[in-house]
Symmetry: C2
């Protein structure tokens, strides 16, 4: 079974010990969400994956709900950092639409987004979790919109651009949701994205074109 490897021996300050332990546990929580889903995420499994004791966990997180809530923020931080790291080369691309769509796809990719979906679905029947998730979601959306604005120019009147961004984001998420249900068909989902991308290019070209009523 995989372990969250993080060693740093010798004398450490309380702050170091504390934050490293929290990080270890939260990383393990995310791993657990990916591997076993929300329902299969138990404190025992997390502790095993993190290679720590149950006592350590209960010391840092009063309850399981606490731990999961912290994991939400933890994931959000990682994803934000991921986006920022990829942003530079996106901004420098020749074709902003293509680069932007690729970025959007990349952000919704990989095991981290799987964990996000697990949390979203779990949040549906858990008000506390829901509040946290909703707050994060707001931030994410506004970040996406800010990026779009700087990619395509801040033409404040043109509401077609945020609209296209929303549609693109929704399409990406829809594909990923389907992928979650049927993970065996990876190539098919890749192809599905390529096709969707072609459609979304049309939408963006239309949105970026000089104002002209799209539906007369």
């Amino acid at each position: 079974m995989a372990r969250v490897t993080t060693e740093m021996r010798g004398r450490r300050t309380q702050e170091q010990r504390s934050s490293e332990m929290r990080r270890r546990i939260l990383d393990a929580t995310v791993l657990c969400l990916q591997e076993y889903g929300y329902g299969g995420t138990t404190t025992v499994r997390v502790v095993e994956l993190a290679g720590v004791t149950r006592g350590a966990l209960t010391h840092h997180f009063a309850s399981k709900a606490d731990m999961v809530a912290a994991a939400v923020s933890h994931i959000a931080a990682i994803r934000t950092a991921d986006v920022l790291s990829k942003l530079e080369q996106t901004m420098a691309a020749d074709d902003p639409v293509d680069a932007g769509l690729d970025l959007l796809w990349a952000v919704h990719q990989g095991p981290l987004f799987v964990a996000v979906v697990e949390l979203w679905v779990a949040a549906r029947t858990d008000r506390d979790l829901q509040r946290r998730v909703a707050a994060i979601e707001r931030d994410t959306t506004s970040m996406v919109m800010d990026i779009a604005k700087s990619l395509f120019g801040a033409d404040a009147d043109n509401t077609a651009i945020p609209r296209a961004v929303y549609t693109a984001m929704d399409a990406v998420r829809g594909i990923q949701l389907t992928r979650i249900a049927t993970p065996d068909l990876t190539d098919e989902h890749e192809a599905r994205w390529r096709r969707a991308k072609a459609d979304l290019r049309i939408v963006f070209e239309n949105a970026l074109a000089p104002q002209r009523p799209p539906t007369p």
Copy 2:
């Protein structure tokens, strides 16, 4: 607490008793998925909602997994019937694109689709469930494509049409996924769909237009 109301007293044949009991249990299972999510769907809750005993449940379904598996098919059947019931007036509509998109939206609406998502996500970490879900998903997709074909004409060469349908379906699912995570913002999601629909119309118009390379 809501009950699945189904009374039919007097002498009944074994077949009647059996199938009615199964239906009651499966309806309650779906209700449970909606109300409490997959993780919160326990045999005790199902039994309470159905107003039957635990013994009845274990008699008809050897295990909980059996019950859930049966619920998958049950949901699929209901949804298919729902689509067919709405199909007639969709086919008769003046604007096939508009009517088709509305149908797609309607099919992914309501508590039933919520249950579907719960099962999709649960299936990710449960191979048996995954197989069942994947099979159903295949059927659903082909049904959607068949309907699209009869709505927009069977121009076999024009791959842009199925592509547009996929994109539309993915966008719808993306919106619904977001809605699941943040159920308080219903109006916002409605608006999001209206905007997405505008974009999707563009995609469909482009797909239906006489062959003309969309990206030169």
